[in-house]
Subunit: 430 residues, 2 copies
Amino acid sequence: MAKKSYKEMSKKELLHEKGSLEAAFDEWKNRGLTLNMARGKPSEEQLDLSMDLLNVGVEEIDVVRAEKNIDLRNYGGLEGIYSARELLATMLEVNADQVILYGNSSLNMMFDTIGRAMVKGLLGHTPWGKLDKVKFLCPVPGYDRHFSICNYYGIEMINVPMTEDGPDMDMVEKLVAEDDAIKGIWCVPKFSNPQGIVYSDETVKRFARLKPAAEDFRIFWDNAYCVHYLYDEIRIPNIIDECEKAGNPDMVFEFCSTSKISFAGAGISGMAASSANLKDALATMTVQTIGHDKVNQLRHSIFFEAGKKIPEHMKKHAAILRPRFEMVLKTLERDLGGRDAGEWLAPKGGYFITFTSVPGCAKRIVELCKTAGVVLTGAGAPFPYGKDPEDSTIRIAPTYPSRDELELAADIFTICVRLASVDKYLETAK
Amino acid sequence: MAKKSYKEMSKKELLHEKGSLEAAFDEWKNRGLTLNMARGKPSEEQLDLSMDLLNVGVEEIDVVRAEKNIDLRNYGGLEGIYSARELLATMLEVNADQVILYGNSSLNMMFDTIGRAMVKGLLGHTPWGKLDKVKFLCPVPGYDRHFSICNYYGIEMINVPMTEDGPDMDMVEKLVAEDDAIKGIWCVPKFSNPQGIVYSDETVKRFARLKPAAEDFRIFWDNAYCVHYLYDEIRIPNIIDECEKAGNPDMVFEFCSTSKISFAGAGISGMAASSANLKDALATMTVQTIGHDKVNQLRHSIFFEAGKKIPEHMKKHAAILRPRFEMVLKTLERDLGGRDAGEWLAPKGGYFITFTSVPGCAKRIVELCKTAGVVLTGAGAPFPYGKDPEDSTIRIAPTYPSRDELELAADIFTICVRLASVDKYLETAK
């Protein structure tokens, strides 16, 4: 049965629809559920995939000690052990010597990289903290924690709209060429957070060819989901190589981690960049730390065979996540398709589905969901300063709940979307 | 046979002594040894004490999951897991809720704490980065990496002499009361780096009662060697309690780690402070990181039974280290006692012995040692800006080499000290 669009309904029809939706909503509310689609966390099933990593222990440490005469339990080796650098290099399709390792959090490395730029400056340039104004471009919707870092350091954020090929590159090119206060841009190039968009080859190449007014402009290329496919592998050009080819070797910092590959709290992370940039980073790290946990690096390089086992391992993650994504998408289509009650993309990887509601409804939908027992990421979170200009973007995180819970949560979500949409249309209906 | 002091020797006697020393020196040099007394690193034997920690794995994670319904493999728990906070709290003699955890490096936590003070300010005070001048008091000799952090952030360092009871408190009290640009002081209160001095009870209490001109003045109490006894346990008053009692609850950050208890590269670290300070720190950490490695925290809390096994474990370390310290001290006494060729203290814990040469000899001794195959910490390193005003302080690190190597290194060291001293006395001898 084809559904009638709310846009085309009369006031009377909308009021009738509202009545049934309110009844359904009350029924859900009275069940007193507590469900959560807010968090981009791996599920227990996914974490279980890497349990053997915990068993890398005494014997392996002894083997490394014997073979390479390196004691991973002691100080030293600031850049990380080679086989673990290989692991991340394989994921990013670069060479191991283009990668240095950090602790368990790539976010921490991004935060510290901006801290370093503020205090020391990059490659000899004026520290950003000494400038009157520092600005970052923020493709929106984007990752809230990137924006929190800018906020922390007092960096002004400028929205750049996302297209289905990535950020609006006409706008990016124009802005960075004009304004030397623009020092960076946040990018999640594969399966963007939250839309799951994969940057097109042309977008990646245009990034590499940017001609920023600021010599110390940097692309913060957060390749958080580089191997996080739901279906087949998807490749994009390697930004490190592209920047080098375009004569901009120092323009990019690329980050990644195993947070959503091994353990979200106990993985390893790192950065790929030009040798000049890596040297610059190590000069700060040598003051900051005694070096990161090499034993955990060893666990990871052994478990993933320095990267060789990543494709096989990620297929297991996909097998767990794919049905969750498909179930949510099916529910959206079933309940909202043809109603003019919002839009969404079907991501091919990553951790989120973005739902775009009728303008002015996102906050209301999040509130309604909360009342009915489903926690969603706060409306506005995927925007700088928490301000969604259209009040229409909602990030759905389908990875963490059990499938049963997710099914309930999706059912509740669409009821709330419909209710908010009907109310919105009623404001102007005749 | 009593040795004759170089001070009392005639020129002729000194020249004769010089001749024999040069012969001995050349003999060592020709052996082409490569020995190292520079690094405050645990030895392999010490690291071997904690190997069972690596075997904490699948089973234990499952137990925690089942018992406490917390998945340590996932995101969350920014302040660290409770049992690991208990572990560090036991070491510092505070309560677990007075402690938050960091990654594997307490140095990193100190670096980041100063970074936070620079960018955000402490407890609502003006960020240090916005002030014309920020100064730190630096008891000397001290830990070079503390000074490197100040240097990194452009903080001016003021030397404060150490006494056998800790820093010169008359000077500390006067300076902090007079100058509100003085925002901090570095302290290693137990077995100070490098002298091994334990602050007296009165010193600790005078610290707690400081009346600094700057409201956001902080004592950086780096209790790196809090349980690192060579002989019996030695207690000092708890600085957190003392500051609270003195009405200065927010004036101190206390740091510690298991770097020299479990593994130097793969331990856990943390900070004890007032609840206001911890809340302030967490507000930054929540922007900076997804949280530190809780699986490694679990390994530590299980292996050390949340702290209960620390005393027993540290006795094993002491059994390894004590003979090394004693051997070096015996060699110093044997070769240098009564010669007026330098002084030293016999530490009761920690990682170093400080040798104080005849003024103007430290650099020369380090160079001579290098020529003869023994690497020492650079002369000047234990001072801000690398400048030892007397050129007389040499840090000896006896923990890392094997005992055989250490014996050779100590023998070479005293020859070099004697040679440099004789040359120095010859400058004025008649």
